[in-house]
């Protein structure tokens, strides 16, 4: 029972940050049909920016509570700046190209951004423990947990609800869904698709950054951060169905829980279980568990 509860919480905690990152990835894919490899960099940049300023501010003797503000700010700044530059500077000029080629371009960007981090932030790991220390810890299921980690689950929930609301209850949502369903149709409906693209990419980037920024206080923020998270969120998005928020949610829960289960019960399989699931889903349900509807074009 204890173990079960623990695995559940560990799993959900892991799922939460996976979901925040993957949500961005899947929105970008859904709208723009771009599998954005450099999404991992958004994550890393979010983490670095947050960690950097949380450290700076607390050195300047500011209240640690500010940390939470910084986290959000970092995510937004990273998303807007990087997102805008990349979409306007690179991707915009590639939409007519083969989608696989665009993936490769984002891979190139990923490599570049990885090293720009080194140049910008140096090689020393950053510790932004203040927000985590602030929230203290509680005992759940016989073991102590840091409230901060648990709060991650809440944040993920907020993001999920937010996305759902945006997509289903706002004008923007209807526009997005139109473009997701059929780009040509969107254009014919007089939607300003280029604008939608830019906004979407920035939005996705913000989510990627948020994932990193929020996890930052719990890890030592060091180079190479983005490399693993990007394949993990690929797995999530593929399992859930590319372009579906609900899918991303389910996908990250499945993968998070499975991974936690592995760590507790069968540590050897921890890494490979994730991708095994991904492969199996691709084989038996290529469109993913929650594939968004597609127009028939034959």
């Amino acid at each position: 029972m204890e173990t079960f509860l623990t695995i559940l919480l560990d799993g959900l905690q892991f799922s939460s940050y996976l979901f925040i990152v993957s949500a961005g990835l899947t929105i970008i894919f859904g709208v723009m049909k771009i599998l954005n490899v450099c999404h991992g960099s958004f994550y890393a940049w979010g983490a670095y920016t947050a960690a950097f300023f949380i450290g700076k501010f607390s050195d300047m003797g500011m209240p640690d509570a500010l940390g939470f503000l910084i986290i959000v700010a970092a995510a937004i700044v990273v998303g807007v700046v990087l997102g805008f530059i990349i979409e306007q500077g690179i991707l915009k000029h590639m939409y007519h190209r083969d989608e696989v080629l665009i993936v490769l371009a984002t891979f190139g960007l990923f490599l570049v951004l990885e090293d720009v981090i080194l140049i910008a932030f140096g090689t020393d790991p950053y510790f932004a423990y203040q927000p985590m220390a602030l929230l203290d810890s509680v005992e759940v299921g016989g073991i102590i947990r840091d409230v901060y980690g648990l709060s991650l689950i809440g944040v993920a929930a907020v993001v999920a609800v937010g996305c759902w609301y945006l997509l289903n209850k706002t004008k923007w949502g209807t526009i997005l869904k139109a473009v997701i369903f059929d780009r040509e149709m969107g254009i014919s409906m007089g939607i300003n698709v280029p604008l939608v693209y830019t906004m979407t990419f920035i939005g996705g980037a913000i989510l990627g950054g948020l994932g990193g920024a929020y996890i930052a206080p719990t890890i030592s923020v060091a180079p190479g951060l983005g490399t693993e998270v990007i394949v993990l969120s690929f797995a999530v998005v593929v399992v859930g169905g590319m372009g579906s928020i609900a899918g991303a949610a389910i996908g990250s829960v499945i993968i998070g829980i499975l991974r936690a289960l592995a760590v507790h019960e069968l540590p050897q399989v921890e890494l490979f279980v994730v991708f095994a699931v991904m492969a199996i889903v691709l084989v038996f349900r290529p469109e993913g568990l929650f594939a968004p509807a597609k127009p028939r074009k034959i």
Binding site: D10, F14, Y129, M132, D146, S220, A222, P223, E265, P267
Partner: protein, 429 residues
């Protein structure tokens, strides 16, 4: 026509390699030493950079001849050394490729460094193949000199077996009532050997039971939430880890936030590096080692060489030298010893002969090249318990105890694992 142009293309490709390939030639009165270390990644800040600093500081002093006696002669056998700093990240295979370039393209005279056991293990055979005088500074896996005799490869510090045998002995002395122990180690040579040696020793000297679920996360994983939960739930009251660098610091911070170290005794064989960097964030009561008489364990050791090392380092880098700084420093020192003996124009063979089996005074201890046919150093090994000292605002270690090499390392010609399994015969404590 197309003919000629494709030929041109080929020759062009070839030519470009040739042209770019003008290697760095070196004069008689100077030598080049390649110093690989982690310059990027989680291991850089806590490990790679201090290590590199140590190497640079010592090399600089040697070039100027400002080391304390008996090393106050200028240069390496008279020659000033120029360091080539490079990153040892990116995986063993990449390092092998880079090493080949170092030797065959950049024609370095000596290679001194390497932190990752994975890299050392991969490079030992390559160094032998290329007949390149190489001193491993920090990496710990005992396999290197146990799996094959070496001619050109040396290691100037004790290997992981010493760390973990000493650790086990220390634990049983200070906390004889330990019931069970679990562990979290990185899943590569270093982590696997560390756990194996510690576990085997505990089986020999204690009644404590090993947990059946020990964690081996991927190196540089960074997030240990689930592992921490798993260990919290585990019945064991002791945690063994050979984590180092960013992984260790991440683990300590995440574990502390989850009260892990309040709940269980924790033994960190490479904990020393974290002591200076984490400051108040480092929980009290951790059992930490520095893989030998280095860093925080010898901070106050009052010998001219050590005082020089600690003070100079503090002056230049504003922080006390941690283990890696010592280990790289003494590896460079070993190079000087070899060159002083064999001369600056010595061949790799002669350098090897000069270093083989000798013992020399290093900054914090005497290094005896006693194992692996005189290629593997032995030193005493010790542990202490962390405590934050409000007065100085620094972490200190209490209950420091050192065990002589003869007590924690197998005699020449005996494999570590066999030695421990056989009840550590001939150990003189």
């Amino acid at each position: 026509m197309k003919h000629t142009l494709i030929k041109k293309a080929l020759s062009l490709a070839a030519a470009s390699t040739m042209v770019l390939g003008v290697g760095a030639a070196h004069a008689k009165d100077s030598i080049t030493i390649a110093v690989p270390s982690f310059l990027a990644g989680g291991a850089a800040g806590p490990f790679g950079i201090p290590a590199m600093n140590g190497a640079k500081m010592v090399t600089d002093a040697i070039n100027k001849g400002t080391l304390p006696a008996p090393y106050n002669t200028k240069g390496f056998g008279g020659a000033t050394a120029e360091l080539i700093e490079l990153d040892e990240g990116g995986g063993a295979t990449k390092q092998v490729a880079e090493y080949r370039n170092l030797v065959e393209k950049r024609n370095v005279d000596a290679v001194v460094g390497y932190i990752s056991s994975g890299n050392c293990q991969a490079l030992a055979p390559i160094a032998e193949e290329l007949k390149q005088f190489t001193i491993f500074a920090t990496c710990g896996t005992p396999r290197i000199f146990e799996e094959a005799p070496r001619k050109y490869v040396f290691r100037t510090m004790g290997h992981a077996t010493g760390d973990n045998v000493a650790a086990a002995k220390y634990v049983m002395e200070k906390f004889p009532d330990v019931k069970g122990y679990t562990a979290i180690n990185q899943n590569y040579a270093w982590g696997q050997d560390s756990w194996r040696d510690f576990d085997l020793t505990m089986q020999q000297i204690s009644k404590a039971k090993a947990s059946e679920k020990v964690q081996f996360p991927k190196i540089f994983a960074g997030q240990y939430g689930s592992e921490i939960s798993a260990m919290s739930l585990d019945k064991s009251d002791l945690i063994h880890t050979s984590f180092w660098g960013g992984d260790l610091e991440g683990f300590i911070l995440q574990g502390a936030a989850r009260g892990l170290f309040k709940k269980k005794k924790s033994l960190m064989t490479v904990g020393g590096t974290a002591a200076y960097r984490l400051g108040k964030k480092l929980p009290d009561g951790l059992i930490i080692g520095a893989r030998g008489p280095y860093g925080i364990l010898v901070k106050d050791l009052d010998t001219p060489l050590n005082k020089w090392f600690v003070e100079t380092y503090k002056n230049i880098y504003g922080i006390y030298p941690s283990g890696p700084a010592y280990q790289y420093g003494q590896a460079i020192l070993a190079a000087k010893v070899a060159y002083d003996k064999a001369g600056s124009d010595a061949t790799d063979e002669q350098l090897g002969d000069a270093l083989r089996g000798i013992s020399f005074e290093a900054f914090s201890t005497t290094i005896k090249m006693a194992l692996g046919g005189g290629h593997q150093a032995v030193t005493e090994n010790g542990y202490g318990i962390t405590k934050y000292d409000e007065a100085s605002g620094e972490n200190i270690v209490t209950d420091v105890k050192f065990y002589p090499a003869s007590c924690v390392l197998p005699p020449e010609g005996v494999e570590s694992v066999e030695w421990i399994k056989g009840g550590m015969k001939g150990a003189k404590c």
